[in-house]
Amino acid sequence: MEPAAIKNEQKAHKQENMKKVKGSEAVLLSLIEEGVEIMFGYPGGSIMPIYDALYDHQEKIKHILTRHEQGAAHAAQGYARATGKVGVCMATSGPGATNLITGIADAMLDSTPMVCITGQVGSLLLGTDAFQETDVIGITMPVTKWNFQVTKAADIPSAIAKAFYIARTGRPGPVLIDITKDAQFAETEFKYKKFEGIRSYIPVPKVDTEKIEDAANLIDKAKKPLALIGQGVILGGAEKEVIAFLEKSGIPFAWTLLGLSAIPTDHPLNVGMLGMHGNYGPNKLTNECDVLIGIGMRFDDRVTGDVKRYAKQAKVIHMEIDPAEINKNVKCSVAILGDVKETLPMLTQKVKTNLHHEWIHEFKKCMDIEIEKVITKDMYPEKPGLSMAEVIRRINENAKGEAIMVTDVGQHQMVAARYTKFNHTRSIVTSGGLGTMGFGLPAAIGAKLGMPGKQVIAIIGDGGFQMTIQELGTIFQTGVAVKIVILNNDFLGMVRQWQQLFFDKRYSSTELINPDFLMIAKGYCIDGQRVSKREDLDDAVKKMLDHNGPYLLEVKVEKEGNVFPMVPAGSSVSEIRLE
């Protein structure tokens, strides 16, 4: 090539590296650098420049327009929970931003990696009660891991890089970036650098090998050890490591609601689910074990019941990435700080190979009691009314453990959690810590878009369904093939159960007069069926799963069904009720 031509090419190359772009374009380029492929959002005045920039990048980033910003937040969560990637959602200022808050709080409590971008009024208008201005930074402080307001376009790339880093590292969580409109319009040079870290944030604490030794000693001497598996195992990608540890040490495990599916359900060491509506054995025998190992779980009050009467007889080992969780609810004898992906193999190496047949048999005895008193009646009811559990049984038989189950919140959630069979990790998406009704439908949309090759089944109650029912519009517009099962008992079931057990059956505002859900779905061009008879159930489930596209199956279940076992609030886990 001729010298002049070379020089021109070099000049052009240099200019490209130093090209000036608008802040809004910088946002999109930064998201692309972070590997974002799908995002959920809703436009508005203060975020229009970013949506304009998005228009030129439609082949790289797919934007899903939801029908409410809350739907966008929950969809981003569903996406993150199913894939392990960071969920991204976007909204305008004022009411757009405040509509995201429930989803952000949910992500905070359930440690879901999420980056939320909100538009904001121009920086000169900040603090003046301008049109659609809210102090979203102030409002989201308690419910985000970190947040930041960008007023200069030059700050955009580094803010977004830092946001993704904080969202996905250590104990994941939601992060919010608020970008003023003038920063979106202003021009800046775009240079992207992945965030490497800051001195004030240590995502993964250093492992203390002495603690591993101490824990191994306790475990080797234990006669009745019990392992509690939480979401930390899934977040750390430590499913294989935890199985190796359990199989070597012979320790039975019970899982929390968010730890479900980390290990296949039919693993021989699985003794059931913990929690207020968990299985009889794990709850009762927690107060009889001698060593209790919490692996990636935080001893939430739903799991512990009355914490003053929880596992007081046991030595507790807590394997946890967040130092603030150690001794927060339950005092432990040995705290192993670190990522379980790293600490579990170290522990496996130190413990002796062991078996605990007799102890595991204790759990089997409890399960037999539970099967007799609760499960058989649930799964194979003799009365004509359909039970929630038998619907789950039918789904199990047809989905064969290969689907991703998404639930809303309430009785149906507990039944689905108790009875679904899982073969693969990340097969359940449910709102645990915050218990947000309305989570199910949008989260299922996010999960399906993140894992298009998997069957995604949303189990939702008639109450929760109506909280985010507008997202049927998102399903209609995108054609995403979510299978929706409405377990309709015409009640706010969980609250009604409490009113029955503790408030003398005074059903204050829990009865729902429901519309024709099928007709509503039809309005959104979503096919469906209603079932109220046992003999129609199996075929209906098959039809739903085989159907090409979204489908709504409404099942009329018995009105006053109750979920058992139950550890009533304030009770000890030993006081778990079977009826």
């Binding site: 402080m141 970190w146 790339p157 890089a161 650098k193 490497e196 800051i198 004030s200 944030y201 603030a324």
Partner: protein, 181 residues
Amino acid sequence: MEQEFTITAFSENSIGLLNRVTIIFTRRHINIESLTVSQSSIKGVHKFTIVVITTLEKIEKVTKQIEKLVEVLKAFYHTNDELIRQEIALYKVPTEALLKSNEVENIVRKNGARILEVTPDFTVIEKTGDKTETQELFELLERVSGTLQFTRSGIVAITKNKHELLTQYLKEMDSIKYSNN
């Protein structure tokens, strides 16, 4: 059993961090008795000194939750005997009282206070000490001359350790080179 604790927290200088820190107390229904924030002896590092009355159990958890914040470097809690604490108090008394008799002057001298400002209408007295000392002086002046105005600062505290607790930690952290924007 509740007692007074002082939390010292070191952070980067970022907007809004004070709000995040106070939220941790509000959430747990703990009232903040006194709060000072200023630059620490280390460049670029801010120091929070927060006094609360609560139980040992709660203060341990709260301190960890403060340290968990992304922009906070380190947080420590201390009981009163682990610290040397001082605060400044200003007392405004009518100048008339000083002209009438020697009493106020004697009080100022005996209590190691000093006169900061004199105008025809009022005189401002300043005292540095711990809370009991400044409170005693206030009650004394109230009785003798009456006070027109009284204000006290938050506490400034220094630990009884030999070195700034943070220095070693920062040395370690700064040796890791992060090349962010």
